[in-house]
Symmetry: C2
Subunit: 317 residues, 2 copies
């Protein structure tokens, strides 16, 4: 019987995943429900209850000493509430108090999903051993989290590292967030595809118009597809360089669907970083693909519960 | 006789200032030399030696327990070297080991000048009592420093908070740093004046073409002068919003010559912040003028020596 476990919740617009995780990051038990994202806030909380209830029914539950939640943002860790853009029924929804109904007296740690990814990559993935890191997801959206001075930096509300919504083009296209020229508005998968289509790129016989399809065209030398990735890479580079210049990081870890495009993204990104990360203390920045897979959110929520991305599994063993 | 003092050095392209500072931030003794910025690195170090030697000749010297240095950057706190852009004779110059020749076994703390300003504003000025703050100087250049989680965040090399060289306009004008569209390239005093002149603004009878002269015109309703400040304000707002979105801060303190323009800068800056700082966790951001005067660099270097911007004087008293 394990004596030191945490329960982890990974809450997104599509699914609500839960797990019991031991102090070495191993997942002992999983539970999952689809997110009823178009239903009421109570209905969404019902799905969380179902996931957590399934975990609580396990014989391991008595060994669970904390609950970690990584949620689509924005979150408010100080208030214990969440307002995920893609779950309209949750606006300043009291998620933490809802979880406490099952968690009881156990500490409940809430962070944004980008922060959770950073915790996971720092604990078990590509940022392991790095005291100052930016971990990003480039996918339908662009998110991230920071490790500073060897520890996770969630910020007071659990949202720090929100690199998708920093403006790198102050006169640029309006972003759904209300600002202009945000990194996400230029570099997310849908925006890579949108820009390629607008500039004359046409999908193959399968009709697929995703960023992955644009990446496939870029790999065969299509100039419009390539240009759309280069543009995304430049926006990511400007955002990454800004982050490094502001807080000093030595590694950037990038995961998510668009990062799976590989060198179609990473080659122009490294080239653009040389253009934007020019000061001596940021010019050595490394950019590497993420190592954590689809469990990153759960493992990161567990890490947050275990006390903020411990550097070595042994620290918390 | 004081029993708990630090020596502070504030090193810039124009002057090298030094002081003995007590644990409440009071300056007991000053020394100063012009910076022989066009001479050899050894000549510049000679001026530092002269300042420090004057402090060391004081009867208070035996009570000095540490030396803090705030220097024009970039600096490298981990290597103990500095490469100030405006002191060409110093490139990876071993300033810390030079200072140790007089400081002896005392700890020597090196930070960038923006970090020192932040330490001063957090300790004694407008950021007092704020756990998460960005403190900026908008002047000939644009610099800054961060307080995160209640403590100064110098970063591993002492350069964190370098907001002047983050790009907010990725296709913008080339910046001397090598990047494009940096905050400084748009919002520094010389760039405010340059843009006003390029757009048809003409100086008054005194012929003065400084940002202060442009501000005076803006105050009388000159549309070109006003537009140049609005443009600077938008670049500052985008950079400040990016910082808040990345690390979560609740206050921005702005000092320096351009900030002395007052509402000519602050009014459009607050308006532009509403456009760029849109996410819930950054929308409450306050922007206030700096409170520290010309001694900010010295007081901040002292704070860094005393252990990183103590929250209350009593903590270190």
């Amino acid at each position: 019987m394990h004596t030191d476990l945490v329960a982890a919740l990974d809450i997104g617009g599509t699914k609500i995943a839960g797990a019991l995780v031991d102090s070495s990051g191993r997942i002992l038990l999983r539970a999952q429900r689809p997110t009823p994202a178009r239903e009421s806030g109570e209905a969404v909380m019902g799905a969380v209850d179902a996931v957590l209830g399934e975990l609580a029914a396990s014989a391991h539950w008595s060994a669970v000493r904390a609950v970690g939640i990584g949620s689509a943002g924005p979150v408010d860790a100080s208030a214990g509430t969440v307002s995920p853009v893609n779950i309209p029924g949750w606006r300043e929804f009291p998620l933490v108090s809802g979880v406490r109904r099952i968690a009881g007296a156990r500490p409940v740690e809430l962070v944004g999903d980008g922060v959770a990814i950073a915790a996971a990559e720092h604990w078990q993935g590509a940022a392991q051993g790095h005291d100052n890191a930016l971990c990003m997801v480039v996918s339908t959206g662009v998110g991230g989290g920071l490790v500073l001075g060897g520890a996770l930096h969630p910020g007071p509300t659990g949202n720090a590292g929100h690199i998708g919504h920093i403006s790198v083009d102050l006169d640029g296209d309006p972003c759904p967030c209300g600002a202009r020229g945000c990194v996400e508005r230029i570099a997310s998968g849908p925006n890579i595809a949108r820009r390629a289509l607008a500039n004359g790129w046409r999908p193959g016989p399968d009709g697929e118009t995703t960023a992955a399809a644009v990446a496939a065209s870029a790999r065969t030398g299509d100039p419009v597809a390539t240009a759309s990735f280069v543009r995304a890479a430049r926006a990511l580079a400007a955002g990454i360089a800004a982050t490094a210049t502001l807080v000093e990081i030595d590694i950037v870890v990038i995961g998510g669907g668009v990062a799976k495009s590989g060198e179609v993204l990473f080659a122009p990104l490294r080239a653009a970083l040389a253009d934007y990360a020019t000061l001596s203390f940021v010019s050595g920045l490394a950019v590497v693909p993420a190592r954590m897979g689809t469990d990153a959110g759960l493992v990161g929520a567990a890490a947050a519960a275990l006390g903020g991305a411990p550097r070595e599994p042994s620290v918390i063993g």
